[in-house]
Amino acid sequence: MIEALSLTKRHGSRLAVDDLTFTVPDGTATGLLGAAGSGKSTVLRLAAGLDRGEGRVLFDGAPLARCPRPAAAVGVALDAGSLHPGRTARGHLRVLAAGAGVPRRRVDEVLEQTGLTGVEHRRPGVFWRGAAQRLAVAGALLGRPRALLLDDPLPALDPDGRTWLGSLLREHADGGGSVLLTGSRAADLAPMVDALVVLRRGRLAAQGPASELVAGAAASVLVRASDAGRLTAAVLRWGGGVEPLPDGALVVTGLDIAAVGEVARAEGVAVHELSRREADLDAALAAPAEVALPASDLLGSSAVSA
């Protein structure tokens, strides 16, 4: 089990991670979702003891430095592109295996497991990004860890690679392990995980079962009306939420498309556009910070293992 407790990280006066608490229970995979700069990688670096910050991350109740065999407790895949240009894939794994105290034959096993046997004697200069990512995952698997931390592994992988990684992580979780991986696209991340922790500028914006969060975030309606202010007031009276867009349109949450139409008609506001918004968590994450995140309404109502 991975427990992140009150994680906080400052870069000068800027809060990169702000009092973040979440849990990844055994047997589950959790996605840490957020736009670029939201603090996802920082959370993983804090968990791995690479960054100095406040709060604690416990792996089966102990911080990484206190684990008798760290590589058996946690496997970490960060910086897939950060490889020494003079060292082969096998050499890279041999170094990690030496530090982790695992036998050399384990290197062969993870090379096989990650489909890298064909490139094991190549150097990173001739790697494609997917191979570098697979190598990072191979390094994380060396110690047969209980917990896996993977930083943004998906963009580097092709569809086959994503399918492979999804199966690998599912198998790991089904075997009783816990998985925490980061990503910036809910559409990519949600199918691979059981739960999502959504970060917005270092703060917890939402957390809960992945399917619920994605579905909840998608339930919004885009409306352009002759009097946006009047319609906003009416929607709020009807219990909906409103997110004004810079171009004057409104994104309404909590009411379906028919209800929004009815509210507008009752208020006598002319509607110029009314459509179900396919916006999802990704769009919400990409929105400016001062605009309310629709998914934040879910925080608390559908939170799990907070």
Binding site: A65, P70, D79, G91, V95, L96, A98, G99
Partner: protein, 264 residues
């Protein structure tokens, strides 16, 4: 993970790093080449002119007692490259993930860089000895003291190269630049220390300080014993080695403090 277990793991990791790079073999070959070429140069010079009693020592150490130690510079390059890979290729992060104890990683780095630099020094010595032994006429043997007398400065040479390796490693970690670190190691005896000497006042205490400056101490460390302890103001090899070790230790402490405090 106990400190002892962490240190053992970190040493294994550092050794594996060395053994999985081609540049390791290149550096060994370069050390042998420097030793051989240096010895050949002094042998050729010795055949034409009398190099005195220190000629053999200069040949074996590739001229380390007359100024810049080329083998030492090679060790500094190796040490600086080890530190540079920490921030250029994420080596420190990869190491911290499997050995999450910064103190153990630092100690292991110092042990392995020091040992590896000593291996480079030994390789250079072996190559130089082979050249001197094979040189026609053996011009340097006659005036040289016995090998037992040479043992101390030769041990000093190995220590000097090891300190160069550690200095390169610590400076590169502190400055976050391998070229800058190696440049400083090279520029110190050639430019910076001579300038510093000019700035010192003419006083007895200044003479003592002058003898303990890094480049001066390096020369004394590899000098033949009577030269090192003969005149006032000159220090012996032990004091010179300690002075040099203190300077390297201060730089290493700065680098260690930075590594321990900063994000990896």
């Amino acid at each position: 993970m106990s400190p002892a277990v962490a240190l053992a793991a970190a040493v294994r990791l550092e050794v594996a790093r060395l053994l999985t790079l081609r540049s390791t073999v290149v550096l060994l070959a370069a050390a042998a080449l420097v030793g051989a070429l240096g010895a050949a140069g002094f042998c050729a010079l010795g055949a034409r002119t009398d190099l005195g009693r220190s000629g053999l020592l200069e040949a074996l150490t590739a001229g380390s007692a007359v100024g810049l130690s080329l083998t030492g510079v090679l060790a500094a390059v190796a040490g600086a490259a080890a530190s540079a890979s920490d921030h250029r290729h994420g080596a420190a992060r990869a190491a911290l993930v499997v050995v999450p104890r910064r103190g153990a990683l630092l100690a292991a780095r110092a042990v392995v860089v020091g040992s590896w630099s000593s291996v480079l020094a030994g390789t250079s010595l072996v190559a130089a000895t082979a050249v001197v032994a094979a040189w026609p006429g053996e011009p340097l043997w006659g005036a040289s003291p016995r090998l037992a007398v040479l043992a101390v400065p030769l041990a000093g040479f190995v220590a000097l190269v090891a300190l160069h390796g550690l200095a390169g490693c610590a400076l590169a970690s502190l400055l976050r630049s391998a070229p800058l670190a190696v440049g400083l190691v090279v520029a110190w005896p050639l430019v910076l220390e001579p300038l510093l000497r000019l700035a010192l006042p003419r006083a007895s205490w200044a003479e003592a300080v002058e003898g303990l400056l890094p480049a001066a101490a390096a020369v004394r460390l590899v000098a033949l014993p009577p030269v090192a302890s003969g005149a006032a103001g000159l220090v012996g090899p032990l004091a010179a080695g300690l002075a040099l070790a203190v300077v390297v230790g201060v730089v290493a402490a700065g680098a260690a403090a930075r590594f321990v405090r900063r994000d990896a």
